[in-house]
């Protein structure tokens, strides 16, 4: 390909050059030519499924007999909004976010500050803190399941602080907390990296000016670092909130052979709810309606975050 176009370009073959040029040199044709592979895949594997998600949500559609799907208006939505399990799942999603986001944001900030010091071997620590983020969540969850079985040194250690010496992921009162621990462990490294790039962008003379004014370390942190990191903090909170709502792997792993959200629905979320109904039970219509509700929730959060940010600015 390249040899050929070079020859054509140098002007060897004028006739071939003319049609090739009109294709390869005009913004209009080349622009569409270059966008086409993306547009075809997008229309096929994004736009079409996206529309289907909405259409199916108004249908009584089962995977086994999709050609017999019938429109039933808002019935799927009505049924979901009358299902206690859906609100339980929604509550769990909110709980995961409410517990994990503050902890992982603060932990990530602490890690970033620590590895931003002039410490020996800080590269190793950076790697160690970041490793959970690049490892598959199934693997991390598997390891934590072995660590948090009843009677291991870890559950016994937590037992000293008033936690029950139980198998965490199989206990209805600890399983959701277990998911939060997994999520925090995964996200903290990401937060650290993003904060680290923020910390390194703070102009050094700000701190020097602070020192001349006799500011204490805490005051420099409070009045220089924190305001400077505000946009980054906002970014981290938005991204992690969305990621928290999308958690799936960890819950699928701890559910083992049971229904998603095991034990006894203690870890069900909006995502496992739609997956269980739409794909496991093959109830495409009902599952799609749950997905649309999930989408509305995500959009609502994004909107609220944006509004909050615009007011702050």
């Amino acid at each position: 390909m390249s040899n050929y176009s070079k020859q054509a370009g140098i002007g060897g073959n004028k006739i071939r050059q003319s049609w090739f040029r009109s294709l390869a040199d005009h913004d209009m044709t080349l622009g569409w030519l270059f966008s086409l592979p993306f547009l075809i895949l997008w229309a096929w594997w994004f736009l079409y499924p996206f529309i289907q998600s909405f259409v199916r949500s108004f249908q009584d559609a089962n995977f086994a007999a999709l050609d017999q799907a019938q429109f039933i208006g808002l019935q799927n939505y009505i049924q979901i909004l009358q299902d206690k399990e859906f609100f339980r799942a929604l509550l769990h999603s909110l709980q995961i976010v409410a517990i994990s986001i503050p902890i992982q944001t603060l932990l990530g900030l602490l890690l970033a500050i620590l590895v931003n010091q002039k410490l020996k071997g800080k590269g190793i620590f950076r790697t160690v803190f970041f490793l959970p983020y690049i490892t598959s969540q199934i693997a991390i969850t598997t390891v934590f399941m072995m660590l948090f079985k009843k009677g291991t040194f870890l559950t016994e250690f937590f037992g000293m602080f008033g936690f029950g010496n139980v198998t965490w992921f199989a206990d209805t009162s600890y399983a959701l907390l277990f998911v939060c621990i997994l999520f925090i462990f995964q996200q903290a490294g990401f937060t650290m990296i993003v904060y680290l790039s923020g910390l390194q962008e703070i102009p050094k003379d700000l701190y020097e000016a602070g020192e001349i004014d006799g500011a204490s370390k805490w005051n420099k942190f409070r009045y220089i670092t924190v305001p400077y990191l505000k946009p980054i903090t906002f970014f981290i909170v938005s991204v992690s909130t969305i990621a928290g709502f999308q958690i799936y792997d960890q819950i699928a792993a701890i559910s083992r052979y049971g229904a998603l959200g095991s034990p006894a629905g203690a870890t069900s979320t909006v995502v496992t709810y739609f997956y269980q109904h739409g794909i496991r039970y093959m109830n495409i219509g009902y599952g799609s309606a749950a997905v649309v509700l999930f989408f509305i929730i995500i959009m609502l959060i994004t909107y609220l975050q944006k509004k909050f940010l615009d007011e702050k600015e």
Binding site: S2, S5, K6, A8, G9, F20, A24, D25, D27, L30, G31, L33, F34, S35, P37, F38, L41, W45, P49, F50, Q52, S53, F63, L66, L110, L114, V115, Q117, L119, I124, R126, V128, F129, F130, L131, I134, T135, S136, Q137, I138, A139, I140, T142, V143, M146, L147, G151, F153, F190, S197, F235, I242, Q246, D249, A252, R256, F274, V291, F294, F295
Partner: protein, 274 residues
């Protein structure tokens, strides 16, 4: 001032080391547990008892065919990364450097696609893959994922920063715009392309939701899905499961060590731009 930093320094070290140990614990536990016999689980034992037996089953038992799962993962990840390396830069370049009718619409398509979580289309994608007869095939695992809105957006940002003089110089040398893209602009984007490949590679390699939905026969498992089934099947055999964890995560961890710097830059730049 001097005395305070002297007091604080060891304190900082202490915190770093404590948290470092906490984060390293699951990894060390995994490594250790994978090389001990079952009866020594959760106890310390001398190196005399260490063994590699736990790893053997994954290479000898056809039902837990780790080499096969590894190959599946390599094929899936390889095809997805190569597809992204071709399709995303072309679209990104068109959006950055070419003027054509419809460009604005395509730009907004990219931005909107970027913001929609994949969950939103998972059920219809599953249905469509099934209707094409693509369940449990590499076509189903790769074709829908050959492009990414976020990466097109990232590459567009990079291509905008390429000075137009490069394109004009290429024109004087007789290259068409297409030629200029492949021979001059594409190689210039090397570092952006590496960043994108790393993100696409690790995202695909570690993914569970999509491969577990679209491929569910043991021959078509990828490593992550296979690991999950090994975990469920041998739930009481910690050393065996840990050997599985080591085998399935080692490739991505080695990959990370190879590209650590670009990886971290990629995460923070995708973070700031995205």
């Amino acid at each position: 001032m001097m005395t305070r930093t002297n007091v604080q320094r060891p304190l900082m070290y202490l915190w770093t080391i404590l948290l470092g140990l906490l984060f390293a614990l699951p990894f060390l536990y995994t490594l250790y547990s994978s090389i001990i016999p079952m009866r020594f689980v959760n106890t310390l034992t001398s190196p005399a008892n260490w063994t590699l037996d736990n790893f053997k089953i994954f290479f000898t038992n056809p039902a837990y065919d780790v080499p096969r799962w590894f190959l599946n993962t390599v094929i899936m990840t390889g095809v997805v990364v190569v597809g992204n390396l071709i399709i995303n830069p072309m679209a990104g370049f068109a959006l950055a450097k070419l003027n054509f009718r419809g460009k604005t619409v395509i730009y907004w398509i990219v931005v909107a696609t970027m913001m929609v979580p994949y969950h939103m289309i998972l059920i219809p994608v599953y249905v469509n893959v099934a209707q094409l007869g693509w369940l449990n095939t590499f076509l189903g695992l790769t074709v829908p994922f050959l492009y990414q809105g976020l990466y097109i957006f990232m590459l567009r940002q990079f291509f905008i920063s390429v000075p137009n003089e490069f394109l004009e110089a290429a024109r004087i040398d007789g290259l068409t715009k297409m030629g200029a893209f492949w021979r001059i602009v594409y190689p210039l984007a090397r570092s952006s392309l590496i960043t994108m490949s790393i993100l696409a590679f690790s995202g695909t390699w570690n993914s569970y939701l999509i491969p577990s939905t679209l491929a569910n026969t043991p021959e078509m498992y990828v490593l992550v899905v296979g690991l999950n089934s090994v975990k469920d099947m041998f739930f009481e055999n910690t050393p065996l499961i840990m050997a599985g964890v080591v085998l399935s995560t080692l490739p991505i961890i080695l990959f990370f060590f190879l590209f650590q710097r670009q990886y971290i830059e990629g995460i923070s730049s995708a973070g700031v731009k995205g």
